[in-house]
Amino acid sequence: MTEGMEVFGLSAGHVASNPVIRDASAKLGSGRLGCMVGRNGVGKSTLLETIAGLRAPFAGRVRLDGVDPHAISAPVRAGLVGYLPQADVVPRGLSALDYVLLARRALQGPWPFDRDEDVAAAHAALEACCADPLADRRLGAMSGGELQRVRLAQAMVGGARFLLLDEPSSHLDPRHRIETFALLRGLVDRGITALVVTHDLDLATGCDAAWLIGADGALTSGSPDDVLTPEALGAAFGVPFQLATAEGRKPIPVPMGPTLRANARRREP
């Protein structure tokens, strides 16, 4: 049994005759943090949903620690892989604890009550996401960053070993983006395997692996240094990239569009 996340020859999408993802193959080692990068609409969410077992592939296979998420029942799958979609309805009147407890359904028996172990697991998940002080606060009274941590806790509370996150920090300010990734790094260090769709290239370079979906839909994977090169990114996004250096850290690929001043200059009559 191979450990970790693996897709092989995967084709998926909305219509079988025109799949969004074609023949994708990639691996993510167990206990590693992977990022998925690509332009909007190229199929990142589709690929993520397929790996999570929420969308059936047209061809190819998905394996999570050797298990096919499409071949197991929904409750078993809920204990294997957690999925955090990009945007989702949030019940503002619910407390964080009650919200996280919702996702314990797959592990609870026929009686619809919360047991001590469910409450303990919920608190543990919230703690792991640095959100335990928020347990009794209403979701409607939280900031974006706080809400995201609670949602992350919910994705994990079922005991999933695999986490798939679709742009978890796109709407957050720089500090919260960094905190989110730090949080994910902490979870991964404790044994979770996480794959994150992100546009934060600076944080992506800090991941253990990178999956890049090119403009043609082809998937390349490997270490971020090998995959997220300025050439590959430029081809993927259709915008030239350069490496920018900052003190004390690896060079970061940065998109090179015209600067604001250059734009202003061009508009002058």
Binding site: A74, A78, Y83, D88, P91, L102, R105, G140
Partner: protein
């Protein structure tokens, strides 16, 4: 609740309170009617006294019928509000009661004595139409259901208006009386028994499904991720809500406001966890209709149909609660 989740003792507390409220309402329904009774004679349980017959042979079955109807409508309201994810939904939003009303109107216009069976068939027909129309690709999605319901409601309302206009004047009276919603004077023990069993078992069934109700009330996506077979659950909820509504409408016509107001009031106090709102809505609905029916029979110089009072009480009560209460808790905040 609080920071401990929902435990058996929490449910036991609310069920206990619900039973208490139900008992009070039941006593009120026995004590209240179009005529006055001598309680000394009533409590002898001696059937030779007229007052004893009034309470035990006449008011008792009617109170039971009212309780069954109220419980069914309130629970139907809870279920449909989850299904279409809209707290303003009622069991009638999908046109089921309109189907029942049309069946009853047609039967009464042809001079039938009983509207019940025709109403039941009408409900079934409406359920079938909404299920087929609101179920493209087997998804039974909220918007499709709502849309199908709106169309069915509008079409059937026009048909009912038509039947009303062409019916003979004496039949028109009876049709209008049925449309207000109220109880007949006599009940078959068998229909009360079967109604009670159906409502009670569906209530228990929905209680066991309360976590799925909680999840689907947030979003289908969250439910799917948490291991719920969303498609099957939505069909279960749809059929349960329809069965409850059809049973209630067959028994007493389209009594208004119960399915809309009772779940809301319950949510305003207890929040939206269905492990609490399902049992409390069942007891609350039963109590509400019992009190409304008994009041309606005694409050005016002639007995009024129950529907008049559920609207008169339910409407203003809902407005008052809405103004003063915590909207976010009840899910009414957008």
């Amino acid at each position: 609740m609080g920071s401990e989740g929902v435990r058996p003792r929490d449910v036991a507390v609310v069920v206990g309170a619900g039973v208490g409220v139900l008992a009070l309402a039941f006593a009120f329904a026995l004590a209240t009617g179009p005529t006055s009774v001598d309680w000394g004679r009533v409590l002898t349980f001696d059937r030779t006294w007229l007052d004893a017959r009034k309470v035990w042979d006449h008011r008792l079955p009617r109170a039971v019928a009212a309780a069954i109807t109220g419980a069914a409508l309130a629970l139907g309201g809870v279920v449909f509000q989850v299904l279409v994810r809209n707290p303003l939904a009622s069991p009638y939003i999908l046109g089921i009661s309109a189907g029942g009303s049309l069946g009853a109107a047609i039967a009464l216009a042809f001079g039938a004595a009983f509207a019940g069976p025709a109403a039941f068939l009408g409900c079934l027909a409406a359920v079938a139409v909404v299920f087929v129309a609101g179920n493209p690709r087997g998804a039974l999605k909220s918007t499709s259901l709502l849309l199908a319901g709106v169309i069915v409601n509008a079409t059937l309302s026009a048909a009912i208006t038509f039947v009303n206009l062409v019916a003979a004047p004496s039949d028109r009276d009876r049709i209008l009386r049925w449309l207000v919603g109220g109880f007949p004077e006599a009940f078959e023990t068998s229909s009360l028994l079967s109604g009670a069993m159906v409502t009670a078992s569906l209530a228990v069934f929905m209680f066991l499904r309360s976590r799925e109700l909680n999840l689907i009330a947030v979003s289908d996506g969250l439910a799917a991720r948490s291991g719920v077979d969303v498609r099957r659950m939505r069909i279960e909820f749809f059929l349960t809500g329809s069965a409850l509504t059809a049973a209630a409408v067959t028994l007493a016509g389209p009594i208004p406001f119960v399915g809309l107001v009772v779940p809301h009031v319950v949510r305003l106090f207890l929040g939206s966890d269905h492990r609490l709102t399902v049992p409390v809505s069942v007891f609350g609905g039963a109590a509400f209709v019992m009190v409304a029916d008994a009041s309606a029979a005694s409050i005016w110089r002639e007995p009024l149909p129950a529907g008049v009072l559920t609207a008169a009480i339910g409407g203003p009560m809902f407005l008052v609660m809405l103004r003063s209460a915590d909207k976010e808790k009840a899910g009414l905040d957008d």
